[in-house]
Symmetry: C2
Subunit: 442 residues, 2 copies
């Protein structure tokens, strides 16, 4: 374990997450979620998809290719697996990688044993993550998804593609063995997710990083839902260009609070139950107070604005005048800069981690919070680079709707049409109110 | 779900945690841990131990009493279970209870079905927690423990007690059925802990509270270890009676930092690897800096001192002068009082929750942190009342060793013998340095 900072435990440990399961069981979805979560926490994570390697040699094979009696197919698939694993090991050993995710069926004991031995010889821990699902509806939904999204079937007749994909699954079913807890796979470290999480088995988790990944994955669900994000209505501090504090909302901020129920109704609809989360600060609570009474409301300290420490209540000009070095240091590395006695964006991400975990568990949630906090939550859902997310434009009086899908998150923005100052700030600027530059807007 | 505050989700939900398993499988240990954890989070939790009810009618029965062919024994045990469940339901329905823990073997399907139906009829969710262990060494260790601690065997010959207890376990083994995932118990919500956690099964967890309990229990381990707590060395702010801030340590604080390695060696020994956690503030980092280089060190933002908001850097006299109402409000309810723009003890507990989770997962840890934070961590381990823990005396220049045992936590204190001011403060006082009163010392 290396000396870490900021409460993120940096270990010398390397972990290989090995996906296991038949096609159309959501393995790529799980791999993609885990990678995004880890990257958001600044843990270098990368997915190695064996199918992508295989497509270099066999772009659009039919189901026959996946029959174990097809020697040519077997050889090509084996070569693809070896190439993916070789690249992953290289990245983990010399490329700065910490968590490599091997996205493939890995459906036989022999294949799993081979990966385990390779990784163990390279001092890499192995966490198997199996998705086991016998629910025909879910499998069919996945098949429909694959026939429209998989590069294996691009340009083909959708019905034909679905039939061929079902055939391919059958080939795998002939050799597939679930991870066997009572037999010779008893010593494996694994998470087995059955029927998309209604039951899970967790076996022999050894360390912190594995435990984090496992806990995250058991909280993820795939039921449709959305997350709505809004800043508080314009505050008195916003008007005077001061940061932090616990100011009241301005008259225009109050207009936004009054408009918010209609804006929410337009986006959410009348019938969906919604839970509202605010910070503990006056301006978010005031913004939420005209929402329907049957919406549950919850105040989270973890949703409070980034703590600007000794600069709390300052304008940027005051910060530049009183702490010129800090002002410069923050512009140079806004994500890591920690205000004296306050927080950095990195600190905010760490305290938001339980919020993200709760969001993953939850159904529809409306979060009314602050500029920096929204930047961090948005970065999680939209896979934004941590270097750039602190500079993102989050206008006041705008409702953002995020809808997680299997391969990414959809975004819709609803402007309330109520004027507000801009609190966005460009690098080096001390302007009280400044219009975002074009590169930030797009 | 009720409108909650402070990020603790208060739900109208009531949960009954039903322990399942043969005697000597650590059920009471698990029940006790879960109760302590929930109470620390201000979630009303209570354990109902069927054995205690049974002892009213049969104080020290022999193993025969537990034979299912013993009609009198069966009747008495059934009556005890009914009384315990009745009291639990009453407490959950009208006594303000949220999580009732039914500590008994509940080893047959019929018994579990009966409890499930009773709870369901009363709108109480049921989470079964089974401890299944076939490791003879662990069972024998538990038997040895029971024969010396169980009221069933007080005053009896230990060897005789152990034999009788083994007999009793055999009676239970004849009827015990593990929770059956594939049969008619398929719909149950349960956590099955096998061989003290090397493998767990989590099935059909439905809500936030269940998930919190489950995640906590899968992190708990029973390997021997200790947690050491120390405040930073005396700081310049301590000397001037100011709170908060990010001051350097005083010359006497530096003496403590220099002495700490020897103090730690005395308590920990030379060979045990130790991980050191500090806050991100200068005074804890400086205090840790002479510790051996082979100790891993980690800085946690979550270990920073309680944020005193606008009062940061003030003396108590200044707070009283400038915010007299706040000064009074804090004394009236120190646990819940939140500094303007800062935190309450309750807030600190919430941000410490991941720290407690990490501590439960970890081996030996030395934590160098701050007065309020130590009070909260100490309250968790020592089961201190949240009303009183904010008034606890935590002297500077003292190392506290806590060792969790099956039925409580042992404490040893090591004074460094280096003078420091007292930062303890009595209710109403604005003294810069004040000696703790006798009732606080004991």
């Amino acid at each position: 374990m290396a000396r870490g900072t900021n409460g993120v435990q940096v270990e010398d440990l390397k972990v290989c997450v090995v996906m296991v399961g038949l096609p159309a069981r959501g393995k790529s979805f799980i791999a993609q979620k885990a990678q995004r979560y880890l990257q958001w926490l600044s843990i270098p994570a990368q997915t190695f998809n064996v199918g992508n390697y295989r497509r270099k040699d066999a772009a659009q094979p039919t189901a026959d290719f996946f029959d174990t009696s097809n020697a040519e197919g077997e050889r090509t698939r084996r070569a693809a697996a070896e190439a993916a694993v070789a690249d992953m090991l290289k990245w983990l050993k010399t490329g700065g990688g910490v968590v490599g995710i091997l996205d493939a069926t890995n459906s036989t004991k022999e294949r799993r044993r081979w990966i385990l031995e390779l990784c163990t010889a390279n001092n890499i821990e192995v966490l198997f993550v199996e998705s086991k699902c016998d629910n025909e509806d879910l499998i069919m939904a996945n098949i429909r998804d694959v026939k429209t999204t998989s590069p294996d079937y691009i340009g083909q007749d959708p019905e034909q593609a679905a039939l061929d994909f079902r055939d391919r699954i059958r080939k795998y079913e002939q050799v597939y063995k679930t991870i066997d807890a009572d037999g010779d796979e008893n010593e494996l470290t694994y998470l087995k997710i059955m029927d998309t999480g209604s039951r899970v088995i967790i076996s022999r988790i050894r360390d912190y990083l594995q435990s984090r990944i496992v806990y995250y994955l058991i909280n993820v669900h795939i039921r449709p839902r959305s997350v709505w994000l809004s800043r508080h209505g314009e505050s008195m501090y916003n008007l005077s260009g001061r940061i932090g504090g616990d100011a009241e909302i301005s008259p225009r901020g109050e207009q936004y609070a009054l408009k918010l129920p209609a804006l929410v109704r337009e986006s959410v609809g009348d019938d969906r139950p919604l839970t509202v989360w605010t910070s503990t600060l006056k301006r978010t609570i005031a913004t939420a107070r005209h929402l329907p009474k049957h919406y549950n409301q919850l105040q989270w300290k973890a949703l409070d604005e980034l703590d600007s420490g000794v600069c709390d209540g300052y304008t940027y000009q005051q910060i530049k005048d009183e702490f010129p070095e800090d002002f410069q240091a923050r512009d140079a590395d806004k994500y890591n800069y920690r205000y004296r006695g306050g927080e950095s964006y990195r600190d905010v991400v760490i305290r938001l981690e339980p919020i993200i975990m709760e969001l993953e568990r939850s159904e529809d949630i409306l979060i009314i919070t602050h500029q920096a906090v929204i930047r961090c939550i948005y970065a999680y859902f939209m896979k934004k680079d941590q270097e750039r997310s602190p500079w993102m434009n989050v206008p006041l009086h705008t409702l953002i709707k995020l809808t997680p899908r299997a391969y990414g998150t959809e975004e819709v923005r609803y402007a309330a049409g109520i004027d507000a100052v801009s609190t966005w700030r460009g690098k080096g600027s001390t302007a009280k109110h400044e219009q975002p530059t074009l590169d930030v807007l797009h």
